[in-house]
Amino acid sequence: MWRVGTVVALHDETATARTVRLEVPDWPGHLAGQHVDVRLTASDGYSAVRSYSIASAPNSKGRVELTVERLPNGEVSPYLTQELAAGDRLELRGPIGGWFVWRADQNEPIQLIAGGSGIVPLMAMIRSRISVGGTAPFRLLYSVREPGAVFYPDELQALSNKDNSVTATYAYTRATPKDWPRPTGRIDAALITSATWPSKLGPTCYVCGPTSFVERVAGFLASQGNSPDKIRTERFGPTGDRK
């Protein structure tokens, strides 16, 4: 079933990523971590469908935010990030997916691990936990190309400044901020050990990013004793082009 959402606001997160806020009058609500399919139809009837994770916390106002990363050869993402304007209407199917979700009644420690734009559904979980005033301890390990590529930097900074909130660790792969203690590099086993919950605490781990990133990180988590049932993954393909 396709619903129609109206674009009410647009916000650039980075040079290549934009958040689209939609109002969907008959939105049934969603869970943090779910996604929607977006359908664009050209005047000749050709249509393209892509999946995008929901960035916003569940709410009762029919408001849905998607953060879309522009892919150089993408078919849909350049339109969504460069041409879409307030007042435009988009067709949406969803919310969908019942596995890669965080529910407000989960009290165990939560380990979030994002690769690039894989932060989006994890941000919905963080926002959801904040909005329900939850007590589940959250840690985020965020692998990102360079400081300018971080999504939601101010919001994440503000959360890590609050003692009861989310602890974030960044792994920069191409360029670090000035005087950053860790050299550039991908997430490795040592960083997993130092920056994530020990497996004996029984955390639920959510890993989202390109397929190769998720493979590697899920392997590290499993080799450190996390049960496969507690490692939930969302891969979005070799290039990050979500279909």
């Binding site: 049934p28 996604h35 399919d37 997916g97 019942g98 397929t211 279909k243």
Partner: protein, 115 residues
């Protein structure tokens, strides 16, 4: 594409297509692979979406679990690769987060109207 190994995404990604057919979310259901017997959430399957349809393979043995193809006449769905799908009690109903909870009044069975 970087390598053949990583052409897949997670079973999660099929949720939209499958929602056209099933009333509840299939990706949170547990399925048993008909080849190796592994029992996993459908969301954990390896999903290949580059062809004309969708192919889900077992994350353990790569056996084909499900094929979905849209053709002119309709939709073909082949689920021979799974011996079963188990939808958890409650879970299947709330995964779509159907908005505010309904309030039921528990007044017992309806009273028989006296004639």
């Amino acid at each position: 594409m970087s390598s053949y190994t990583y052409d897949y995404v997670d079973g999660n990604a099929a949720a939209g297509e499958l929602s056209r057919i099933f009333a509840t979310d299939v990706t949170a259901a547990e399925g048993q692979c008909a080849h190796c017997g592994a029992i996993k959430r459908f969301a954990e399957a390896h999903l290949y979406m580059d062809g004309p349809g969708v192919v889900a393979r077992c994350a353990v043995c790569e056996n084909v679990l499900l094929r979905l193809a849209n053709v002119r006449q309709g939709v073909f769905l082949d689920m021979r690769g799974m011996t079963y799908l188990m939808f958890g009690a409650g879970e299947a109903n709330d995964v779509r987060a159907r908005g505010p909870k309904r309030k039921f009044r528990l007044d017992g069975p309806p009273k028989r109207r006296s004639t």
